[in-house]
Subunit: 425 residues, 4 copies
């Protein structure tokens, strides 16, 4: 099969534009606008944004209003699409783009679009710095390649648009993957329901340009919590009994969380990374907060840990006459790739220009909320896989000097669109 | 006022009989029979035993059926009063004796009758050993002078019986003081209701023979618990998650019990003395038990601690999916002596033969459940005091060589009966 | 005895100047300069500042360099005494002023000069606001009357200076009382060594203007800690064992600190008010900090608690392979007033204008590090007392609307200088 | 190859004799005597017992002297070999039997000989009961087939003795496997040093008679501890601070043991099964003991857990001013089978009478201290495997109704001796 991929320079320009404007989860206002403008240019059949793209009620970890407002204002200043922005207000970012060519299978492609709270390197040998497309938002950075992922999405649409096919292609531009906040909501949206085959993809991951993994999986399932204990303050010297000590509740909960029994079925994890009680030494704490997470080798193991954590928190609050509020601010399940689809991708990928190594299957080595979309497609009788698109990186993911070898852009678009067209054939 | 006290030899014989046959709380079957026989001899007006003497439902720390049966059988062998024993079955020990001489005030005297699980010394210079009245029940001993207390009760009845008075004298022979199990039940019985003035007394307490304290108080209030966590066992290697770990529940509870906030109002105490989980190292514990106690400088402080302990236990059980059962097996409140009655006792005591030092008021330095009776009398508008009757001891209370200087027997009877007759006058 | 107190308007002006420029502990640069300027005006015999006033090595809780620098720069801008400021650099605030009139007793007066991190009220009916002497440093406030105390120090010097006496008066203007950081250092300085009689004083404390307490004591001894656990971070999902978890160390320590056994000798307290670990949920914490305190009904009880806390901290660090650093950032012992001096003060105070109620002795109800000075004087064979100078306040100490009834200024000066002159007589 | 196995009736008689006389670890006095008598009958070349059979210093979990003496006396009564028993005194049980036929490889066979503290069923349909060979020692039972294992050892020796071979066969009759106390000592003895190939075997394990697994492995490594905290008792009401609380030390240790971080490399386990503090509720505990264990998917993971436990125990003791004593009372490493030897066994086993299913490799599903011997042989350049010898059982291992289908006796002897002779060929 022969496909016409977009001009590489255009892909590079687009990726650099995304790179210049990193936005964290649920704040991808400018990113969403830019994607929509590209889609309008291409003339895709349907463009769904915000609440039309995903199930807003299922969003996890949406920032507070003040944070959203700050990013929204920044996007207002940087774009000229108030009509579009209005539909995104309140953290309703994300897009689903549809090419509908009538009867035939429905293929989904899921890419993610958010950035990280990392200050990008200014080193002279950091390519984005030397080439002038370093982050313009200090403290934030595309340090995990989602700028390339969004570019893949546009590039694939352009490629498929120019091909002959019958059926439907839907590209899911998912917000808030880094905090595992968007996958569940995107999976719960209506657009995924009729997808027969789903592809996801990630660049880099310590594989060099030209290497393709047809199926990455075995991610640890994960759940992250924001925890707030509320009690009542009192003077530690003159009325210690009059307080309801949120610090005692928190340390009892945390201590018991670390002690949740290991599970015979496999890997479990638990951690309390952040603790905070801001009372003076002489004040019985009326408030103590924590950020914690649990993981599991399977979704069920993560759920076992999550339920155990809830029990620890609730009981510790009761024990110390406090109340506790727990919010899940991010969650990912484990879902593995379908062998059939892995085989197809491995097969069509071999002949593609620039691809010099095709690994059928490997472990992801991280958590991913694309798994929600994969699960739903599989449950509906479809198949799904999550590709690794090698890209030689000078520095690890989530570091200030991370960068993506731009040679990956046409390769990724080609691998994904070739697979999609094969499925549509 | 002149009173005729009983013959000292008779008092000594009686005390030695009690000493020879020590019985622990709620197992004072033989002791109760012997008391009743004495009362019958004296011809007191009313003798109430068992459920007629106290409120059975309020008994704390009644031993299990097997223990009760063992002591009951021993009493059957040692006495010849099956009719009487039948009324005591199930741990219904204790007596209330009444002298009713018509109109006039009602005076109460409370003495306790139980012994301790201590093996009595066989040393040649231990008086009960050398004189042949050492405990005949190995492992149990009157090591706190309740043999003298019971003798005081009989001696006072005999004395008052021979005196002229109008009114009523009630002597409360209370079971199970050592475990603080009987005071609450005795106080809840109907006989205390019309008592106008109540006396209690304790021998020894590091004061020598001839010293009388007219009012002992400031005891720490106390509550003791039997705690049982029940979970579910599982193999620690192959199914750790399948268990519900009673050990984890217990250690979480105990750790938080020690951390119950100190109280601004005064002294609080908490301790877990006994822990027990008898599972093998490779078994998730399905059962773990503990014996614990709390104390307070006031009844309210003890109650604050008790409520906090309950919360720790319940929450820790919930946290680890276990159930918990807590029984209060002993409890004492704080109740202080009435100054008016202390003054009266101090006054009449001064002239008594053998009394060479009268201390108006001192601290008890231990917990006492006579406080329940004192509180109820006070609440009904009466007055109460708890006397210290000095008795030179060769060794401390609750030790294998404890003994009571028998010279205290006529002194105690005289001090108590003189005070009572003064109140009846 | 008749004394000429300073002009009340001058006292008010001086107090308001202090009030306008509140500075926290060890940052009283401007305050110290103003005091010195007053002393120079009065012509006192000796003025010792900074390291000459106290033992710098014994200072507790000195802020970090950046904080000191910020307050120092502010004082540079507000004063014109670079020579003097140079000697105060690095948190060397405080003054000892000496009037030396040859042979005779040496009397000490200790006053404190620091302010609190409280934002002062702007309410129209808040006197400092309406009268225009509200704090000019947002976020800081003289909310405990130390502005009045410093004024007392100057006023007393002026009064005594104008009187006939033989002997020596030393006024100790102590920094950092609020954080209990300065008393120990002031006591350790050389100027206290020959003091025969020491007076300290506090305004307000819920007593109205005209009430004088000749001896306030029974303060809880107190020790405050800054605690830092350091471990090693690791990825909570992929290398939980590779970390050394500072959060686990901290919660184990804190949990056991709350469980430090109560003490038979009296009141003990422990509290962890602040917890902080700023790691993300997926990071094993490499650092966790806390602010904690212990108290005791006596110095020994506080020391028992402090030693127990150290053991908890060190052991918990070892247990989790972490290190721990503990700094005592504030400490106060308990030291009670000498009856002899209390009697003298009570006696001379009765006749003073404006004084309508003299209470011989009462409890302080707070911790105070003047106790260090009192102890040292007593140990040297002298006597010490700590006076309460009633001042009707519209709002409690340490609140944004706290104020001092300025009528107290001449009363306080009079009470203190009369007592001092009596001692010098 | 043809081998002549011993008469089946003789094997059954021998196994039933062992079954009748179960002895726990390090108390296999009678069992050792009976084995030696059999070996003497057979005329094996060397018989090493007790300290000559293994490294006595490496024995783990040797019972206390009283327990040893009780079993020793029982063996004295049941045997007529005081000379032999003398060499076994103090828990020096176990035998190494050697057939030495000059040059050639040295083959080892390891069997275990101890029984369990389980009361054997008296049910009519429990074969040992109905056939009259039920345990004669109430409370103890061969409930894991070690009676069959010892019989295998004798049967194999008899079989090999009657065959032509050059080389050496050593059979290791190992004591105390159930508590994982003997493997380490047996491996440390001198007889294993020159072994080229080692076989171990276990009957049953839920596989039916006729099934042989040529290599069982992937056991969890395990370490078991006896833990004793010692502090100082004190009265919980009147001197709580005077104690050094062993209960607080234990609960802090246990709580932190459950919280030992999970390990990225694989499975870890920790459990505290037994807790014991026998103090009264009003006594600060001076002593608290526990039985605990850790496991690991590899030996290194077990060691990681063991070191972490030591740190928890030591630190918790220090924290509460207590001392702690920890004894490892049982330990097993993980060691997997050598593929080469597994292949050989699988190969020769296929043709053996009674064998109808040969499984090359499976997981053991339990801990085993034969692994120490396997490791040492492998480290010396040899090979080792651990066979599963199926035997249809009416009830699970370690239950009162466990039994071994005696048809397994000739099959086991045949499988093991055929493999050994193949290695000797």
């Amino acid at each position: 099969m022969h496909t016409t991929t977009p001009d590489t320079d255009d892909l590079i320009e687009l990726r650099r534009d995304f790179h210049r404007h990193p936005e964290p989860g649920w704040c991808e206002f400018r990113t969403t606008v830019r994607i929509v403008e590209e889609l309008e240019c291409l003339g895709v059949d349907e463009i769904h944004v915000g609440p039309d793209a995903l199930d807003s009620d299922e969003r996890l970890g949406v920032p507070d209003g003040e944070t959203l407002a700050r990013w929204f204002e920044r996007a207002e200043a940087e774009t000229d699409r108030p009509d579009l922005l209005d539909r995104l207000a309140g953290g309703n970012t994300g897009v689903v783009a549809v090419l509908d060519r009538g009867a035939g299978p429905t293929i989904g492609l899921r890419v993610d679009i958010d950035a990280l709270p990392i200050t990008e390197s200014t080193d002279a040998d950091h390519w984005p710095a030397s080439e002038g497309f370093r982050s313009t938002t200090e403290g934030y950075m595309h340090a995990c390649g989602h700028d390339a992922h969004a570019t893949f999405g546009i590039g694939v649409l352009e490629t498929v648009l120019e091909s002959d096919f019958e059926g439907t292609l839907k590209v899911f531009f998912q917000p808030s993957e880094e905090l595992l906040g968007g996958g569940k909501a995107m999976a719960a949206g209506s657009h995924l329901e009729d997808v027969d085959h789903l592809l996801g993809a990630h660049v880099g991951l310590d594989r060099s340009t030209g290497t393709i993994v047809a199926g990455l999986d075995e991610a640890l399932a994960l759940s992250r919590f924001d925890i707030t204990f509320e009690g009542e303050s009192a003077h530690a010297g003159f009325a210690p009994n009059a307080g309801r000590n949120a610090v005692q509740a928190l340390i009892t909960a945390a201590s018991n969380m670390y002690g949740i029994p290991r599970h015979a079925e496999g890997t479990t994890r638990v951690n309390v990374g952040e603790l905070r009680s801001e009372n003076a030494a002489n004040v019985i704490a009326d408030r103590a907060t924590a950020k914690a997470e649990v993981r599991g080798g399977t979704t069920e193991l993560m759920e076992y840990m999550r339920e155990s954590v809830y029990r620890c928190l609730d009981s510790a609050a009761t024990m110390h006459n406090c109340s506790v509020d727990v919010s899940v601010i991010g969650e990912a399940i484990r879902w593995d790739c379908d062998q059939q689809l892995v085989d197809l991708v491995a097969d069509v990928t071999k002949g593609i220009d620039g691809v010099n190594d095709v690994i059928p299957r490997d472990t992801l080595g991280a958590s991913e909320d694309a798994t929600y979309l994969m699960r739903n497609v599989s449950r509906n009788g479809g198949t799904a896989t999550y590709l690794g698109i090698g890209a030689s990186n000078p520095s690890g993911h989530h570091t200030p000097r991370f960068d993506v070898d731009e040679a990956v852009l046409p390769i990724g678009v080609s691998v994904l669109s070739t697979s999609i067209l094969e499925l549509l054939a």
